[in-house]
Protein backbone atom coordinates (compact mmCIF):
# COMPACT_ATOMS: atom_id res chain seq x y z
CA UNK A 1 0.00 0.00 0.00
CA UNK A 2 1.34 3.39 -0.89
CA UNK A 3 2.59 5.68 1.86
CA UNK A 4 -0.15 8.27 1.31
CA UNK A 5 -2.92 5.67 1.67
CA UNK A 6 -1.30 4.34 4.85
CA UNK A 7 -1.19 7.87 6.22
CA UNK A 8 -4.88 8.34 5.44
CA UNK A 9 -5.70 5.10 7.22
CA UNK A 10 -3.69 6.00 10.30
CA UNK A 11 -5.20 9.48 10.43
CA UNK A 12 -8.73 8.09 10.06
CA UNK A 13 -8.27 5.62 12.90
CA UNK A 14 -6.60 8.34 14.96
CA UNK A 15 -9.71 10.49 14.55
CA UNK A 16 -11.86 7.48 15.50
CA UNK A 17 -9.69 7.12 18.61
CA UNK A 18 -10.43 10.74 19.52
CA UNK A 19 -14.16 10.00 19.10
CA UNK A 20 -13.94 7.00 21.43
CA UNK A 21 -12.06 9.04 24.03
CA UNK A 22 -14.83 11.65 23.87
CA UNK A 23 -17.41 8.92 24.38
CA UNK A 24 -15.45 7.25 27.19
CA UNK A 25 -15.35 10.58 29.00
CA UNK A 26 -19.04 11.36 28.40
CA UNK A 27 -20.03 7.83 29.45
CA UNK A 28 -18.07 8.06 32.70
CA UNK A 29 -16.01 5.02 31.76
CA UNK A 30 -12.72 6.59 32.78
CA UNK A 31 -13.54 7.32 36.41
CA UNK A 32 -15.32 3.94 36.67
CA UNK A 33 -12.44 1.86 35.35
CA UNK A 34 -13.33 -0.95 37.79
CA UNK A 35 -16.52 -1.67 35.80
CA UNK A 36 -14.46 -1.69 32.60
CA UNK A 37 -12.08 -4.27 34.07
CA UNK A 38 -15.06 -6.41 35.10
CA UNK A 39 -16.39 -6.16 31.54
CA UNK A 40 -13.10 -7.54 30.26
CA UNK A 41 -13.24 -10.36 32.83
CA UNK A 42 -10.12 -9.19 34.69
CA UNK A 43 -11.39 -7.66 37.89
CA UNK A 44 -13.53 -8.30 40.93
Amino acid sequence: MELRATGRLLFSFGLAGVAFLLYAFAAGIWPDSEALFRLCGCGG
Binding site: S12, A16, V18, A19, F20, Y23, A26, A27, L39
Partner: protein, 367 residues
Protein backbone atom coordinates in the same frame (compact mmCIF):
# COMPACT_ATOMS: atom_id res chain seq x y z
CA UNK B 1 -36.93 2.93 -7.17
CA UNK B 2 -39.60 4.25 -4.79
CA UNK B 3 -41.95 1.60 -6.17
CA UNK B 4 -39.47 -1.13 -5.15
CA UNK B 5 -38.88 0.24 -1.66
CA UNK B 6 -42.59 0.81 -0.97
CA UNK B 7 -43.42 -2.61 -2.45
CA UNK B 8 -40.89 -4.31 -0.16
CA UNK B 9 -42.28 -2.42 2.84
CA UNK B 10 -45.90 -3.38 2.11
CA UNK B 11 -45.03 -7.01 1.32
CA UNK B 12 -42.96 -7.45 4.49
CA UNK B 13 -45.44 -5.61 6.72
CA UNK B 14 -48.31 -7.77 5.47
CA UNK B 15 -46.27 -10.98 5.51
CA UNK B 16 -44.91 -10.48 9.04
CA UNK B 17 -48.32 -9.39 10.31
CA UNK B 18 -49.95 -12.53 8.90
CA UNK B 19 -47.21 -14.79 10.30
CA UNK B 20 -47.41 -13.11 13.70
CA UNK B 21 -51.21 -13.27 13.93
CA UNK B 22 -51.36 -16.86 12.68
CA UNK B 23 -48.64 -17.80 15.13
CA UNK B 24 -50.35 -16.41 18.25
CA UNK B 25 -53.70 -17.84 17.15
CA UNK B 26 -52.28 -21.31 16.58
CA UNK B 27 -50.06 -21.36 19.69
CA UNK B 28 -51.30 -19.30 22.63
CA UNK B 29 -48.80 -16.95 24.23
CA UNK B 30 -47.11 -17.99 27.45
CA UNK B 31 -46.33 -15.52 30.22
CA UNK B 32 -44.43 -12.54 28.76
CA UNK B 33 -40.81 -11.87 29.54
CA UNK B 34 -38.87 -8.63 29.74
CA UNK B 35 -38.74 -5.67 32.05
CA UNK B 36 -41.81 -3.76 30.92
CA UNK B 37 -44.38 -6.57 30.58
CA UNK B 38 -47.19 -4.48 31.93
CA UNK B 39 -47.00 -2.35 28.77
CA UNK B 40 -48.10 -5.21 26.46
CA UNK B 41 -51.66 -4.44 25.41
CA UNK B 42 -52.00 -2.01 28.33
CA UNK B 43 -53.58 0.70 26.16
CA UNK B 44 -56.01 -1.73 24.59
CA UNK B 45 -53.79 -2.32 21.57
CA UNK B 46 -55.34 -4.84 19.14
CA UNK B 47 -53.44 -8.08 18.61
CA UNK B 48 -52.20 -6.81 15.24
CA UNK B 49 -50.21 -4.16 17.13
CA UNK B 50 -49.45 -5.94 20.39
CA UNK B 51 -47.51 -8.70 18.59
CA UNK B 52 -44.83 -6.04 18.09
CA UNK B 53 -44.58 -5.21 21.81
CA UNK B 54 -41.59 -7.36 22.64
CA UNK B 55 -38.23 -6.88 24.38
CA UNK B 56 -36.41 -3.70 23.32
CA UNK B 57 -39.60 -2.41 21.64
CA UNK B 58 -41.03 -2.17 25.17
CA UNK B 59 -37.99 -0.30 26.43
CA UNK B 60 -38.41 2.23 23.61
CA UNK B 61 -42.16 2.45 24.28
CA UNK B 62 -41.48 3.07 27.96
CA UNK B 63 -38.90 5.77 27.14
CA UNK B 64 -41.15 7.43 24.54
CA UNK B 65 -44.00 7.59 27.07
CA UNK B 66 -42.18 8.49 30.30
CA UNK B 67 -38.75 9.54 29.02
CA UNK B 68 -35.48 8.66 30.75
CA UNK B 69 -34.83 8.10 34.44
CA UNK B 70 -31.75 7.33 36.46
CA UNK B 71 -31.29 3.85 37.94
CA UNK B 72 -33.88 2.07 35.76
CA UNK B 73 -31.59 1.17 32.86
CA UNK B 74 -33.29 3.45 30.31
CA UNK B 75 -30.13 5.47 29.68
CA UNK B 76 -28.69 2.30 28.13
CA UNK B 77 -30.80 3.20 25.05
CA UNK B 78 -29.83 6.06 22.71
CA UNK B 79 -32.36 8.89 22.47
CA UNK B 80 -33.11 9.64 18.82
CA UNK B 81 -35.56 6.82 18.08
CA UNK B 82 -37.67 7.31 21.25
CA UNK B 83 -37.56 11.07 20.63
CA UNK B 84 -39.02 10.62 17.13
CA UNK B 85 -41.63 8.19 18.50
CA UNK B 86 -42.55 10.66 21.24
CA UNK B 87 -43.03 13.41 18.63
CA UNK B 88 -45.03 11.12 16.32
CA UNK B 89 -47.24 9.89 19.16
CA UNK B 90 -48.63 13.41 19.52
CA UNK B 91 -50.77 12.61 16.46
CA UNK B 92 -50.52 8.81 16.20
CA UNK B 93 -51.73 6.67 19.10
CA UNK B 94 -51.09 4.21 20.69
CA UNK B 95 -47.33 4.49 21.15
CA UNK B 96 -46.56 1.16 19.47
CA UNK B 97 -48.30 2.41 16.30
CA UNK B 98 -46.17 5.57 16.42
CA UNK B 99 -43.13 3.30 16.77
CA UNK B 100 -44.16 1.33 13.68
CA UNK B 101 -44.79 4.56 11.72
CA UNK B 102 -41.29 5.85 12.55
CA UNK B 103 -39.75 2.46 11.74
CA UNK B 104 -41.60 2.12 8.42
CA UNK B 105 -40.75 5.65 7.31
CA UNK B 106 -37.11 5.07 8.20
CA UNK B 107 -37.17 1.77 6.31
CA UNK B 108 -38.37 3.41 3.09
CA UNK B 109 -35.58 5.99 3.30
CA UNK B 110 -33.03 3.30 4.19
CA UNK B 111 -34.11 1.03 1.34
CA UNK B 112 -33.97 3.88 -1.17
CA UNK B 113 -30.50 4.95 0.00
CA UNK B 114 -29.35 1.31 0.07
CA UNK B 115 -30.10 0.82 -3.63
CA UNK B 116 -28.94 4.33 -4.55
CA UNK B 117 -25.56 3.85 -2.83
CA UNK B 118 -24.82 0.24 -3.68
CA UNK B 119 -25.60 0.59 -7.39
CA UNK B 120 -22.58 2.91 -7.62
CA UNK B 121 -20.39 -0.11 -6.82
CA UNK B 122 -22.19 -3.19 -8.12
CA UNK B 123 -24.79 -1.93 -10.60
CA UNK B 124 -28.58 -1.61 -10.36
CA UNK B 125 -29.44 -5.31 -10.61
CA UNK B 126 -27.08 -6.36 -7.81
CA UNK B 127 -28.14 -3.34 -5.72
CA UNK B 128 -31.78 -4.48 -5.84
CA UNK B 129 -30.70 -8.03 -4.98
CA UNK B 130 -28.66 -6.67 -2.04
CA UNK B 131 -31.79 -4.97 -0.71
CA UNK B 132 -33.76 -8.22 -0.97
CA UNK B 133 -30.94 -10.10 0.77
CA UNK B 134 -30.92 -7.76 3.77
CA UNK B 135 -34.72 -7.80 4.03
CA UNK B 136 -34.87 -11.61 3.75
CA UNK B 137 -31.97 -12.10 6.18
CA UNK B 138 -33.11 -14.26 9.13
CA UNK B 139 -32.99 -11.26 11.46
CA UNK B 140 -34.36 -8.92 8.76
CA UNK B 141 -37.70 -8.56 10.53
CA UNK B 142 -36.00 -6.21 12.98
CA UNK B 143 -36.03 -3.65 10.16
CA UNK B 144 -39.82 -3.62 10.56
CA UNK B 145 -40.02 -4.03 14.35
CA UNK B 146 -40.15 -1.09 16.80
CA UNK B 147 -36.36 -1.15 17.10
CA UNK B 148 -33.67 1.27 15.91
CA UNK B 149 -32.40 -0.88 13.01
CA UNK B 150 -34.16 0.92 10.15
CA UNK B 151 -33.47 4.40 11.49
CA UNK B 152 -29.80 3.65 12.08
CA UNK B 153 -29.47 1.99 8.68
CA UNK B 154 -31.01 5.04 6.96
CA UNK B 155 -28.70 7.45 8.78
CA UNK B 156 -25.52 5.43 8.27
CA UNK B 157 -26.35 4.97 4.56
CA UNK B 158 -27.06 8.70 4.33
CA UNK B 159 -23.67 9.51 5.86
CA UNK B 160 -21.89 7.22 3.38
CA UNK B 161 -23.89 8.58 0.43
CA UNK B 162 -23.14 12.20 1.33
CA UNK B 163 -19.46 11.40 1.86
CA UNK B 164 -19.45 9.77 -1.57
CA UNK B 165 -20.96 12.96 -3.02
CA UNK B 166 -18.13 14.91 -1.34
CA UNK B 167 -20.41 16.72 1.09
CA UNK B 168 -18.32 16.26 4.26
CA UNK B 169 -20.27 18.60 6.56
CA UNK B 170 -23.62 17.04 5.66
CA UNK B 171 -22.13 13.55 5.96
CA UNK B 172 -20.81 14.49 9.41
CA UNK B 173 -24.23 15.87 10.39
CA UNK B 174 -25.91 12.66 9.24
CA UNK B 175 -23.31 10.68 11.19
CA UNK B 176 -24.00 12.88 14.23
CA UNK B 177 -27.65 11.81 14.31
CA UNK B 178 -26.60 8.20 13.65
CA UNK B 179 -24.44 8.48 16.77
CA UNK B 180 -27.54 9.64 18.67
CA UNK B 181 -29.35 6.48 17.48
CA UNK B 182 -26.93 3.63 18.16
CA UNK B 183 -23.63 3.36 20.05
CA UNK B 184 -22.04 1.71 17.01
CA UNK B 185 -22.64 4.97 15.11
CA UNK B 186 -19.18 5.95 16.33
CA UNK B 187 -17.77 3.41 13.86
CA UNK B 188 -18.68 5.86 11.09
CA UNK B 189 -15.87 8.25 12.09
CA UNK B 190 -12.99 6.39 10.40
CA UNK B 191 -14.79 5.76 7.06
CA UNK B 192 -16.03 9.37 6.86
CA UNK B 193 -12.53 10.68 7.57
CA UNK B 194 -11.01 8.32 5.00
CA UNK B 195 -13.60 9.25 2.34
CA UNK B 196 -12.77 12.90 2.88
CA UNK B 197 -9.00 12.42 2.84
CA UNK B 198 -8.92 10.28 -0.30
CA UNK B 199 -10.56 13.09 -2.27
CA UNK B 200 -8.07 15.77 -1.26
CA UNK B 201 -4.35 16.38 -1.30
CA UNK B 202 -4.51 18.82 1.58
CA UNK B 203 -7.16 18.33 4.27
CA UNK B 204 -9.16 21.35 5.44
CA UNK B 205 -11.41 22.16 8.36
CA UNK B 206 -14.15 19.92 6.93
CA UNK B 207 -12.12 16.92 8.09
CA UNK B 208 -13.38 17.69 11.59
CA UNK B 209 -16.91 16.96 10.35
CA UNK B 210 -15.93 13.27 10.34
CA UNK B 211 -15.96 13.50 14.13
CA UNK B 212 -19.74 14.08 13.89
CA UNK B 213 -20.77 10.47 14.70
CA UNK B 214 -18.51 10.38 17.75
CA UNK B 215 -19.76 13.77 18.91
CA UNK B 216 -23.36 12.64 18.46
CA UNK B 217 -22.74 9.59 20.62
CA UNK B 218 -20.74 11.49 23.26
CA UNK B 219 -23.17 14.42 23.52
CA UNK B 220 -26.31 12.26 23.61
CA UNK B 221 -24.72 10.07 26.28
CA UNK B 222 -23.66 13.10 28.31
CA UNK B 223 -27.16 14.56 27.94
CA UNK B 224 -28.80 11.36 29.18
CA UNK B 225 -26.51 11.05 32.19
CA UNK B 226 -26.66 14.73 33.16
CA UNK B 227 -30.39 15.24 32.59
CA UNK B 228 -31.38 12.15 34.60
CA UNK B 229 -28.67 12.41 37.24
CA UNK B 230 -27.43 8.92 36.34
CA UNK B 231 -24.17 8.83 38.26
CA UNK B 232 -23.07 5.35 37.13
CA UNK B 233 -20.87 4.86 34.08
CA UNK B 234 -22.46 3.42 30.94
CA UNK B 235 -20.52 0.20 31.55
CA UNK B 236 -22.11 -0.11 34.99
CA UNK B 237 -25.54 0.75 33.55
CA UNK B 238 -25.16 -2.08 31.03
CA UNK B 239 -24.18 -4.67 33.66
CA UNK B 240 -27.72 -6.11 34.08
CA UNK B 241 -27.51 -7.23 30.43
CA UNK B 242 -24.62 -9.48 31.45
CA UNK B 243 -22.29 -8.73 28.54
CA UNK B 244 -18.54 -9.12 28.82
CA UNK B 245 -15.64 -8.74 26.43
CA UNK B 246 -13.52 -11.72 25.34
CA UNK B 247 -11.40 -12.64 22.30
CA UNK B 248 -13.58 -13.55 19.28
CA UNK B 249 -12.35 -17.17 19.18
CA UNK B 250 -13.49 -17.65 22.78
CA UNK B 251 -16.91 -16.21 21.98
CA UNK B 252 -17.23 -18.51 18.95
CA UNK B 253 -16.10 -21.58 20.94
CA UNK B 254 -18.54 -20.76 23.76
CA UNK B 255 -21.32 -20.30 21.20
CA UNK B 256 -20.54 -23.67 19.60
CA UNK B 257 -20.69 -25.42 22.99
CA UNK B 258 -23.90 -23.56 23.88
CA UNK B 259 -25.60 -24.63 20.63
CA UNK B 260 -24.82 -28.32 20.97
CA UNK B 261 -25.30 -28.33 24.73
CA UNK B 262 -28.93 -27.50 24.03
CA UNK B 263 -29.21 -29.91 21.12
CA UNK B 264 -29.40 -27.00 18.68
CA UNK B 265 -30.64 -23.51 19.51
CA UNK B 266 -32.00 -21.80 16.34
CA UNK B 267 -31.25 -18.14 17.26
CA UNK B 268 -27.74 -18.94 18.50
CA UNK B 269 -27.10 -21.12 15.45
CA UNK B 270 -28.10 -18.21 13.20
CA UNK B 271 -25.85 -15.92 15.26
CA UNK B 272 -22.92 -18.34 14.95
CA UNK B 273 -23.27 -19.01 11.21
CA UNK B 274 -24.10 -15.35 10.60
CA UNK B 275 -20.91 -14.18 12.31
CA UNK B 276 -18.71 -16.64 10.42
CA UNK B 277 -20.42 -15.67 7.14
CA UNK B 278 -19.99 -12.00 7.98
CA UNK B 279 -16.24 -12.47 8.48
CA UNK B 280 -15.95 -14.16 5.07
CA UNK B 281 -18.02 -11.41 3.43
CA UNK B 282 -15.94 -8.74 5.17
CA UNK B 283 -12.90 -10.11 3.32
CA UNK B 284 -14.86 -9.68 0.07
CA UNK B 285 -15.86 -6.16 1.11
CA UNK B 286 -12.19 -5.31 1.65
CA UNK B 287 -11.13 -6.68 -1.73
CA UNK B 288 -13.97 -5.54 -3.97
CA UNK B 289 -15.64 -2.45 -2.49
CA UNK B 290 -14.32 1.02 -1.58
CA UNK B 291 -11.94 0.87 1.38
CA UNK B 292 -14.19 3.14 3.47
CA UNK B 293 -16.64 0.22 3.79
CA UNK B 294 -13.91 -2.05 5.16
CA UNK B 295 -13.02 0.63 7.73
CA UNK B 296 -16.62 0.48 8.90
CA UNK B 297 -17.17 -3.29 8.74
CA UNK B 298 -14.05 -4.64 10.47
CA UNK B 299 -14.12 -2.60 13.71
CA UNK B 300 -17.89 -3.21 13.94
CA UNK B 301 -17.40 -6.96 13.49
CA UNK B 302 -14.51 -6.98 15.96
CA UNK B 303 -16.77 -5.52 18.64
CA UNK B 304 -19.68 -7.82 17.83
CA UNK B 305 -17.41 -10.88 17.88
CA UNK B 306 -15.71 -9.84 21.13
CA UNK B 307 -18.88 -9.46 23.13
CA UNK B 308 -20.16 -12.46 25.07
CA UNK B 309 -23.59 -12.34 26.59
CA UNK B 310 -24.74 -14.18 29.71
CA UNK B 311 -27.89 -15.74 28.22
CA UNK B 312 -26.28 -16.99 24.98
CA UNK B 313 -22.68 -16.20 23.97
CA UNK B 314 -23.43 -14.52 20.63
CA UNK B 315 -26.84 -13.20 21.61
CA UNK B 316 -28.27 -10.60 19.17
CA UNK B 317 -25.37 -10.88 16.70
CA UNK B 318 -27.69 -11.56 13.74
CA UNK B 319 -29.65 -8.40 14.57
CA UNK B 320 -26.45 -6.39 14.78
CA UNK B 321 -25.45 -7.67 11.33
CA UNK B 322 -28.65 -6.42 9.66
CA UNK B 323 -27.36 -2.84 9.57
CA UNK B 324 -23.92 -3.83 8.25
CA UNK B 325 -25.00 -3.12 4.68
CA UNK B 326 -21.64 -3.56 2.85
CA UNK B 327 -21.80 -7.29 3.68
CA UNK B 328 -25.05 -7.66 1.73
CA UNK B 329 -23.68 -5.62 -1.17
CA UNK B 330 -20.67 -7.97 -1.36
CA UNK B 331 -22.95 -11.03 -1.18
CA UNK B 332 -25.18 -9.70 -3.96
CA UNK B 333 -22.09 -9.21 -6.11
CA UNK B 334 -21.46 -12.95 -5.73
CA UNK B 335 -25.03 -14.04 -6.38
CA UNK B 336 -26.22 -11.65 -9.08
CA UNK B 337 -24.97 -13.82 -11.96
CA UNK B 338 -26.31 -17.01 -10.34
CA UNK B 339 -30.09 -16.51 -10.26
CA UNK B 340 -30.91 -20.01 -8.99
CA UNK B 341 -28.47 -19.73 -6.10
CA UNK B 342 -29.78 -16.23 -5.36
CA UNK B 343 -33.37 -17.50 -5.27
CA UNK B 344 -32.38 -20.43 -3.04
CA UNK B 345 -30.52 -18.09 -0.66
CA UNK B 346 -33.51 -15.76 -0.44
CA UNK B 347 -35.93 -18.66 0.12
CA UNK B 348 -33.86 -20.30 2.88
CA UNK B 349 -33.27 -16.90 4.54
CA UNK B 350 -36.97 -16.08 4.52
CA UNK B 351 -37.88 -19.48 5.96
CA UNK B 352 -35.38 -18.96 8.80
CA UNK B 353 -36.81 -15.48 9.31
CA UNK B 354 -40.30 -16.92 9.74
CA UNK B 355 -38.96 -19.36 12.36
CA UNK B 356 -37.14 -16.62 14.28
CA UNK B 357 -40.02 -14.13 14.02
CA UNK B 358 -42.52 -16.71 15.26
CA UNK B 359 -40.20 -17.34 18.21
CA UNK B 360 -39.81 -13.61 18.90
CA UNK B 361 -43.57 -13.06 18.82
CA UNK B 362 -43.83 -15.74 21.52
CA UNK B 363 -41.40 -13.81 23.74
CA UNK B 364 -38.50 -16.03 22.77
CA UNK B 365 -35.33 -13.97 22.75
CA UNK B 366 -33.97 -13.70 19.23
CA UNK B 367 -31.95 -10.49 19.31
Amino acid sequence: MWRLTLGVLVAMRLGLELVGLASVNLTPLGPPNGDWNALVGASGEPLALSIWQRWDALWYQRIAEDWYRADDGTVHFEPLYPLLVRATSVIVRPTVLAQLVVTSTAFVVAAWLFVELSRLDVGSEAACLALLLVVAFPAGFFLFAPYTESLYLALSLGAFRLARADRPWLAGACGFVAGCTRTVGAFLVAPLAYSYLERRDKPGAALLAALGPGLGLALSTAYLRLSTGEHRSMVAVAEPWGDRLSPPWQALAASWEFIWGLGGDPPELVNFVGLLGAIVLAVLVTRRLPLAYALYVWPYLALVASRQSAAAPLESVARYLVVLFPLFVALSGLLVRKPLLAMATLAVSLMLQVVLFERWVHFGFVG
